[in-house]
Amino acid sequence: MPDDSGYHFDPDFIVDHLGDLGTGLLRTLAISAIGMAGALIVGALLGAISALRVPVARQLITVYVEVFRNTPLLVQIFFLYFALPETGLQLGGFTVGWLSLLLWGGAYNVENFRAGFEAVEGGYVEACRALGFPRLAAFRHVTLPIGARIALPSVTNILISVFKNSSFMVAISYPELTETAVNIVAVTFRVFEMFLAIGIVYLGLVWLMSLGARAVEGRFAIPGGH
């Protein structure tokens, strides 16, 4: 791509750095996978406690959710990485990576699951209770399977955001994919090649995840809609 400034696009350059980029991508996938799995579990568990209106626990969960939803993920990452050591808790880049993503995604998913559980028609649970099911059993057999399906599209959206936001770790110099690319750019100035390469990788993976999410949503769709 020659232009006025004399910049020449060099595709071989990407090939030369595939090894480094691959290592970075593996780190991106590692912190994303732990963060996504954790955000799913935390969201479902705390969302259920919240929907069941367990006293005290529900209020504590609300505080967690509101704090993490109403502050920037990047500032949360900085707090974990730069401020916690002051309190004697030193966390490495990898730990801050998956932990910050888990806490952030978890907070959004608590809301998604809670809303899903609360959207389940009251009559279903009442019928279940009338048949003699204890409260928890009614939740497990009725509210959970229906509510989780209602919550599914918003939950998968957040999980995909967790993957995209793993790139925020560039701010604490954890060498995931974006930080790896920025470091290569810093010594070689091959800006176009690098950002084109990782841009395609991120877009491709997001696209694949969206396809997967739609497939899962289709598989678990409530027959006849809701």
Binding site: N70, T71, V75, F79, S166, F192, G199, Y202
Partner: protein
């Protein structure tokens, strides 16, 4: 109050001004461009929709930090000189407008089909149908998610720190570094805690407003 607090607070206030200005510019541009693109996505013309769809998919699909790096590093290479503020504003607006467009498209298409057909039968042009029939109804449905996007954009301004804008987050980092160099103690907990608190105080009322409005719609 310890002596370090005053100067740090002043410095953070300067950063907050940058943050607020960046948020306002990005929100305004995102809404303006996004509503227009969202309306275009409901046009019958396939080529128009394909072009807008590509824009939306690219800028929604990329991580925001990659968009900021793209703008910040790539624009100078093609001969466009921009400072960090403009680069951040462009990057956030690309991301924001793509997301607004998707919200607006969803809201317009959720208005029952018969409404547009009735307006067409009465002789309204596309712009007339949009302005007088579809957009006013879509606006009510789009409002809660749009407020959510405003909160999101406000929070994402902190990413401008990564490309070097002295916003509130970068100001806090520099304060922490300066305190470490001069006194040895970093005071990172109260300083970053204050940054979290500032965002929380701005975003929580908006989040609550969005939730309240959403509940009122149902």
């Amino acid at each position: 109050m310890p002596a370090w607090v005053g100067p740090v607070a002043d410095y953070l206030a300067g950063g907050l001004r940058e943050t607020a200005l960046l948020a306002l510019v990005s929100i305004a541009a995102s809404l303006l461009v996004g509503i227009l693109l969202g309306a275009l996505l409901t046009l019958p013309s396939k080529p128009v929709r394909a072009v807008v769809r590509a824009y939306v998919e690219i800028w929604r699909g990329l991580p925001i930090i990659i968009i900021l790096f793209l703008i910040f590093f790539v624009l100078p290479i093609i001969g466009v000189r921009v400072n960090t503020f403009i680069a951040a504003a462009i990057g956030l607006s690309l991301w924001g407008s793509a997301n607004v467009a998707e919200v607006v498209r969803g809201a317009v298409q959720s208005v029952p089909r018969g409404q547009a057909e009735a307006a067409a039968a009465l002789g309204f042009s596309w712009t007339g149908r949009m302005r007088h029939v579809l957009l006013p109804q879509a606006a009510r449905r789009a409002l809660p998610p749009l407020i959510g996007l405003v909160v999101n954009l406000t929070q994402q301004t902190s990413l401008a720190a990564v490309i070097g804008l002295v916003d509130i987050l970068e100001a806090s980092q520099r304060s922490i570094e300066r305190l470490t160099l001069s006194g040895g103690s970093t005071h990172a907990v109260p300083i970053l805690g204050a940054v979290l608190a500032v965002f929380f105080v701005i975003c929580l009322p908006l989040t609550m407003l969005s939730r309240w409005y959403e509940r009122r719609l149902h």
